[in-house]
């Protein structure tokens, strides 16, 4: 109920953008769905842009058109939500998606990304995800990767850019 009031106040002045920081985290699951549906309806009706901050990938995939994945203060992957959820490029995003429970495998142990997010006081050199990444190489430990484009998605990962390079070379060799 209170969160409904907050949404009402937020929309009262007819804003162009609503920034919602974990709007459903403090609510029960049943109410969460209701509040998200309400927020989505109102945004569509009034053509308001929504920036939705959450750690619930289910909500993101249902509500948003584009998404950003952040890690240690950086955006590591961004692009159309559908594309990222269906075919995540960055090993961290893949880890997040693999950590979701699967309906087909009840009781199965969930995937876990080893380790935890580094503290701001000692961010690792190079790619901040390298200590937890199974693909990490010396290159990853030394310098932060630039963004590369894979489909319509921007990814900051050497593994992905090397893969794209390899594919390009293979295609060139074929033709």
């Amino acid at each position: 109920m209170r969160q409904r009031v907050i949404i009402a106040i937020a929309l009262l002045l007819d804003p162009e953008i609503i920034v919602a920081d974990e709007p459903t985290t403090a609510l029960d699951v049943t109410i969460q769905a209701e509040i998200m549906a309400l927020l989505l309806d109102l945004c569509e009706q009034e053509n308001v842009a929504l920036m939705l901050i959450t750690h619930d990938l289910g909500v993101v995939s249902q509500v948003t058109q584009r998404m950003l994945v952040m890690y240690s203060g950086r955006i590591i992957e961004q692009g159309p939500t559908r594309e990222i959820i269906n075919d995540a490029q960055h090993p961290y995003t893949q880890g997040l998606i693999n950590a979701l429970p699967q309906l087909g495998e009840p009781g199965a142990r969930l995937f876990q990304i080893p380790g935890s997010m580094p503290s701001l006081k000692n961010v690792p050199t190079g790619c901040p995800f390298h200590p937890r990444c199974t693909f990490a190489t010396d290159q990853c430990r030394q310098t932060m990767p630039e963004y590369v484009q894979s489909g319509s998605v921007d990814v900051a990962c050497y593994e992905v850019s090397n893969l794209i390079e390899r594919e390009k070379r293979m295609q060139e060799a074929e033709s």
Binding site: Q3, P15, I17, A26, A49, L50, I53, L68, M117, K121
Partner: protein
């Protein structure tokens, strides 16, 4: 007609926190844009900088945090370089914010009606003032 410039464009944003022993970098080189009516998701583990990114859009980073570089362009104007007074016209009015915990946002001592009217008064009041200046 659809314009080419996005409604909100964050360019190469750096946010740091000044603490003893040097600065901690909370956001590094953040760039993204948001079009009119678009819905954008921001995901990551706790501590990834999601909330700092959200707060910085409204230039609401409290000390010792500060915007160390980059731009936050809303309709072409840089929120990172705006005065508190100008920002107040945008916060709530043009860009609204919904926080995680409604208990923190609402004041339990005041009625809901009073708090809603307060939000409107804040803007109408400043509009009246604007008209006064124009006269």
């Amino acid at each position: 007609m659809k314009s080419d410039t996005p409604l909100l464009e964050v360019k190469n944003l750096d946010v740091r926190f000044a603490v003893r022993g040097g600065d901690l970098t909370a956001l590094r080189g953040i760039s993204f844009s948001l079009d009119k009516g678009e819905r954008l998701g921001l995901v990551g583990e706790s501590g990834a900088g999601k909330s700092v990114a959200a707060f910085s859009i409204l230039n609401l980073i409290a000390r010792p945090g500060y915007i160390a570089g980059g731009q936050i362009l809303f309709e072409g104007r840089d929120l990172a370089a705006m005065s508190e007074r100008e920002l107040r016209k945008i916060r709530g009015n043009r860009i609204a914010m919904i926080f995680q915990d409604p208990m923190m946002t609402l004041n339990p001592v005041l009625s809901i009606g009073t708090q809603m009217v307060e939000a409107i008064k804040h803007i109408v009041g400043s509009a009246r003032k604007r008209r006064g200046i124009l006269r």
